[in-house]
Structures are given as C-alpha cells and as structure tokens.
Amino acid sequence: MSPLRSLEEAGAAMPDRRRVLLCLGAAACALSSGVASVWAAAPANEEGNVARAPASDKTQERQPFYGIHQSGVTTPRPATGMVAAFEVLASSPADLVRLFETLTARIAFLTQGGAPPVLDPQLPPADSGILGPEVFPDNLTVTVSLGVSMFDQRFGLAEQRPLHLVRMMSFRNDALDAARCHGDLSLQICSNTADTNNHALRDIVKMMPDLLLLRWMQEGSVPVIPASPGVPAESARNFLGFRDGSANPDATDEALMNRVVWVGAEQEGEPVWTRGGTYQAVRIIRNFVERWDRTPLQEQELIFGRRKASGAPLSGGTEADVPDFAADPEGEITPLDAHIRLANPRDDKSKINLIMRRPFNYMNGVTSAGQLNQGLLFIAYQNNLQLGFITVQQSLDGEPLEEYIKPVGGGFFFALPGAVDNRDFLGRGLLAAAGFV
C-alpha cells in the first residue's frame, strides 16, 4: 500500500471517528473534546486552511485568438511561459490538415475558456481538470511555429520553406544537447500561471498522440515587481539580476512591429503565405549563477554595460535612456565588448538587426556537480532571422559574459500567420500554397 493511499484512507475514516466521539456520553465528550478538534472538518475561517487555493483576480484575462498575427509575440509577456517542441508524425496531407485544424480548435478553446464536454464517467475525462470543471483563459496564448525540418522531404512542403529558416547552428560558446534542440513544431505557451500553461500543453498532447510527439520542453517565469503607479515601467530581471529587454522595440508601435517583427510584402523572396508570421529564435541558456554571484558588482556592470540596480546605461540616466556609444569610441565608459554594446551598437547600420526579445527565466534543479541548473529561456522574434538573431548572436561571440553562460538547447522556428476568423485555421495559407487544401 502506498503512503498516499493510506493517507486517503485515514482521511475517509475521519468522519466515522468523529461520529464515534460525538456519540459518547457527555462526560466522555468533554474528555475527548481535545481529540475531536483534531479531526474537525475544514476550518470555517478560510484563512485558517493552509491548503486553500491561492486566489487570483486575473483568471478572466483573455488575449484574442483570431487575427492576422498570432498572439504571444507582441502580447505583453505574462508571468510564466514555456516552449515545447514536437516531432510531427503526419503521413499524409490529410494528416497535416487535421493537425493544424485540431491545433487551431484547441487553442481557440483554451485561450477563450469554457466548459469541456462531460463524458460518461466510465471513460477517461475529456479534460485533465487542472483548472477545474470550467476552463478559464488566465491570459493564455499558444503560439504555433514550424522548424525547418517541416520543410524537408517528408511532408511535401519543401518548396514553401520561409526564406531564412535554417536549422539552429552551434555558435561559438554553445554546448548543445541534442535532446533539447530543434523540432518540427514549437508551441510557445504563456499565461499568468504555470499551471494554466501545463493545462494547455496536456490538452494538446492528449488530443493528437498520433500526430505530435513531444521532443523537449522548457518552462520559465519572470520575477514580479511591486506595482508602482506613475513610475515608468521596468523590464523584468534575469537570473543574473539585470533587467532584460531594455532595448526592445515598442510593441504597441504597429509600424515599428511591421518593420522589425512581422513578415510582409517588403521581405523579398519570402513565400506569400509567410506574411503576418515571424521568425522565432529559442535558446536555452544556462547561467552559472554561483560564479556570477561571486563576481564583483562593478565587473558585472562592465560585462553587461548597465547599472545593476537601475538598469541605466553606464553613461547615466535611467533604463529608458539610450547610451551614446559614438561619444565613447574608446570604450572608456561602456567597454567595447560590453554585452549591450555588442548586441546593439545603436548606430544607423544596426537598425536592421533589431529583434523583439520575450524571454523567461528557468530553474531545472541541480547539476551532477551540485550547482544550480538555471538560466534564461531566451525567445526572440524578427522578420529576418539572418539579419536578426543570427547576426546579433555572431556579434556577441567571444563576449566576456560567455564565462558565465552556456547555451545548451533551443531551435529556430517560423511562427505562422494568425487565423483570421473561425473559418480559417493556423497553417491554412501554407497548406493551400502546397495544394493540400
């Protein structure tokens, strides 16, 4: 008998025990009242029950599903996110259609919420039940992207490959673990709580076991900050303690998003079906946090090129201020090899290399060496992968920060254009271009 089982049985026995105690004579009752209270039911005062579910007033927050772009890219990043990568097992065009139609239907349901069907109790239930009988949206987005392997010889999609989509290469500082790299299809799942993400992932895994095989997944979260109205927004901090995303382009600026993130007619050579989509770069980057925490503060700040506490550039001001590297050609204020300077030199030439970062921090337990296994689930979007992430990462090769970080996994994907309405489905443009629908 498992310990859990016996605990349950003990629980089931409680009411009987209480009844027995209550049935005793008055004197005996008085004597046993101390015992009886041990077996009392849940406290009337809810605060008194330590196992009470934490309450949230954000469970009804809802992101749109239908639109020319998928949600989850320019959507403000919620507190938790994950990336799951799958193998696609489709063996016919009909399988591909079923895959994308089912994905669309599940995501439309999960992101908007509602009650799953109630089945005969002799069958496994339709839903995992993690969120209760009524699924609430909780700010969920599920963003579907395809790896370059979707465009190999298996599926008849080779001619539809997005122009810049390639298999993630190993950069200079990488130590890639094959079991945490690449994949035919990625899902970026984000919401207010990790459990909501898990609920969505399990729903999708259960719905299509013959079409999707899970390859790897990485969860993450970002630290919350106290609400401070009237004070400019801050970027969330990474596990090195620095604000991450300070130089991100403004996601509410539609023209800028069209220039940086979304593929449009301006992207020469791209198949027409890619319009409204974007390239997704995912990197699982381990941080050597013990070593980082043993590094002097001023060295940490020189490595990043920012003040740790405020996020301001070393030239001063606030996080929002743009450093003037041109006025510091010798790197006397911001070293020439500082992370932010290499990643974004802030000159006219580098404007075409802008990317939209949307990372989360992850914790994966302990390494065999007894060190904390944690780091950054880096996610970035751009409308040209080559000019975007690949160029930025190449310019970071050899940076001093490399001593403290080690990319171990990830992959390059293309986030599909959105489904515009309930007659459309994600991937329809791609399948139509291939002649499958």
């Binding site: 097992l89 005969d120 002799q122 069958l123 496994p124 076991p209 013959d210 079409l211 095989l213």
Partner: protein
C-alpha cells in the same frame, strides 16, 4: 461455447463465481448499453487460458535459461535471455498484480537506490547485467535460483487467481502505457539491448486482449476498432523490419524515424485503449 469452456477447464469455477458477482454490480450502471456484462465471461476465460499457457512456457524456458546460467554457459544463457522473458512481458497486466514478485523478477537497476550494487536488485535484469555488462556467469547462481523460484510461485498464484475483468480489459492499455513511459527509450534491456523483443511481446499481449473483446464492440464502434487495428498494424510493420532468425535486432539498430513512428503508435494505442474498459461497461 461458454459451457464448453467450463467443462474443459475446471479451474475457471472461481472465475465464473466472480463473473456472476460482477454481473450484479455492473448491471446497475450500463454505460455502453450494447455490451451485456455476461458477454465478458468468455473472453476473460479465454484470456486466462492464454496467460496460463504463457506462464507454462515461461516456467519451461526459465528453467533452461537458469540452468545455462548455473552451468556457466555464457553464450547459451545470453541467447536464451531475450526469448525467455517475452513470456513474462506478454502477461504483465496479470503478472504485475503480484507486485512483490514483479519487483523481484523484473525490476531494473534504477528501481533501487544503489542501482546494480543494490542487494534488492534481482531477477531478469540482474542476470542480464552479469551476462551482458560483466560478461560472466560468475556469482549469478543465487539470482538464477531465486528467479526460478519466483517464476514457479507466479505460476502457482496465477493458477488460483480469479481474473478481475477490469484488470484484464484494462491490461491492453496498461501494456501500452508501460511501453510509452519506460520502454520506448530503450532503457528496459539496457545491458543486452534486446528491447525490441520485449516490445513485440508487449504488443502481442495487448493485441490478444483487444482481439478477445473486439467482437463485443466492433458492431457499434467500427471506427474505433479499425483505428486501433491500424495502429497495431503500423507497429507490426516497423517491428517486422527488425526481425532476425532468432528474435530481433538490438535496440541501437532502430532508426530515429522508426522510433518516432513507434512512439506515436504506442501513445495513440494507449490513448484509444484507455477507453476500452468504459466501452465494455467496466470503467
């Protein structure tokens, strides 16, 4: 047909009694109306025959296997390891009802805190470790004796077991869950890499159960039956590619593409067969 079976095998008396009780209980809640609980009696009886025959072969072959181990005949023992254990793998839904025996017959090193060095690590995989990793029969005699004794005890217990219909029907899915959770990765026979033989036996055991109960559902649920059969066929087709004269190629020969197809079929079978109990009113 039902009567004939009873005459042929007297040991099913207990089963019939259990089935009668079961009829009473299940009749209260008919979920998928077309299947009368009484219809389950014959397939359950047939399944007991299958298990009984399998365990008899397990006993015979385990004797030959353990004799080879004790005689120090390394090559013969290695050759007999994989075929012998297939008879256990095929009947796991029943064998696992005896968790003490299952642990001593079929546990793996990582079920034990000190792995291979753990004194609690016994059975097939402990002997496999000696034969294939240490390449020797030295020191294996006590494990061989224990395995033989455990297998005989298993046979004894199965003979007197009243087969619970829900465990029998549920067994089809259980076998797939096991493959999906801890076998598809090639971690079961990690020293000999004879996993494909285990897979084959697991699938055969699951398909046997499905085939026995199929007549009860195929009329009302043709789509379900043909989907399950298509996935079993998909598995067969892959495994056929790896058949050799005496069994199967080693697990490392399995291509990545074939492993993925197998994994997809196993997950889908597990998902679909998980509804079999409910469809038969045994949920």
């Amino acid at each position: 047909m039902f009567k004939k079976r009873v005459q042929r095998a007297r040991q099913f008396k207990a089963l019939m009694l259990a089935a009668a009780t079961f009829v009473g209980a299940a009749a209260l809640q008919p979920a998928f109306a077309e299947v009368a609980p009484y219809d389950l009696v014959t397939p359950v009886a047939e399944y007991k025959i299958y298990v009984t025959e399998s365990v008899q072969r397990l006993v015979t072959e385990t004797r030959a296997f353990t004799d080879a181990v004790k005689a120090g005949n390394l090559d013969k023992a290695k050759a007999l390891f994989a075929p012998t254990r297939t008879h256990y793998e095929a009947i796991e839904p029943i064998a696992e009802l005896f968790s003490d025996l299952d642990a001593s017959i079929d546990s793996r090193a990582d079920d034990h805190e000190q792995a291979e060095k753990d004194p609690g690590f016994t059975g097939f995989h402990r002997i496999e470790y000696g034969l294939f990793a240490q390449k020797s029969t030295e020191g294996l005699t006590p494990y061989a004796d224990k395995l033989m004794a455990d297998v005989l005890e298993l046979q004894k217990r199965i003979a007197s077991l009243t087969f619970p219909p829900d465990k029998v029907v549920g067994g089809a899915a259980v076998l797939m869950e096991e493959v999906a959770a801890t076998k598809i990765s090639g971690e079961e026979d990690r020293y000999s890499h004879t996993d494909l033989g285990d897979f084959d036996a697991n699938f055969a055991g699951s398909k046997k159960i499905f085939d026995l109960f199929r007549p009860l559902i195929e009329k009302d649920d043709k789509a379900f039956v043909s989907k399950v059969e298509a996935n079993f066929a998909k598995v067969d087709k892959i495994l056929d590619k790896y058949k050799t004269k005496n069994g199967f190629e080693t697990y490392d020969k399995l291509t990545d593409a074939d492993r993925k197809v197998l994994a997809g079929a196993v997950n889908t079978l597990a998902e679909d067969l998980s509804t079999l109990r409910g469809k038969l009113g045994l949920g």
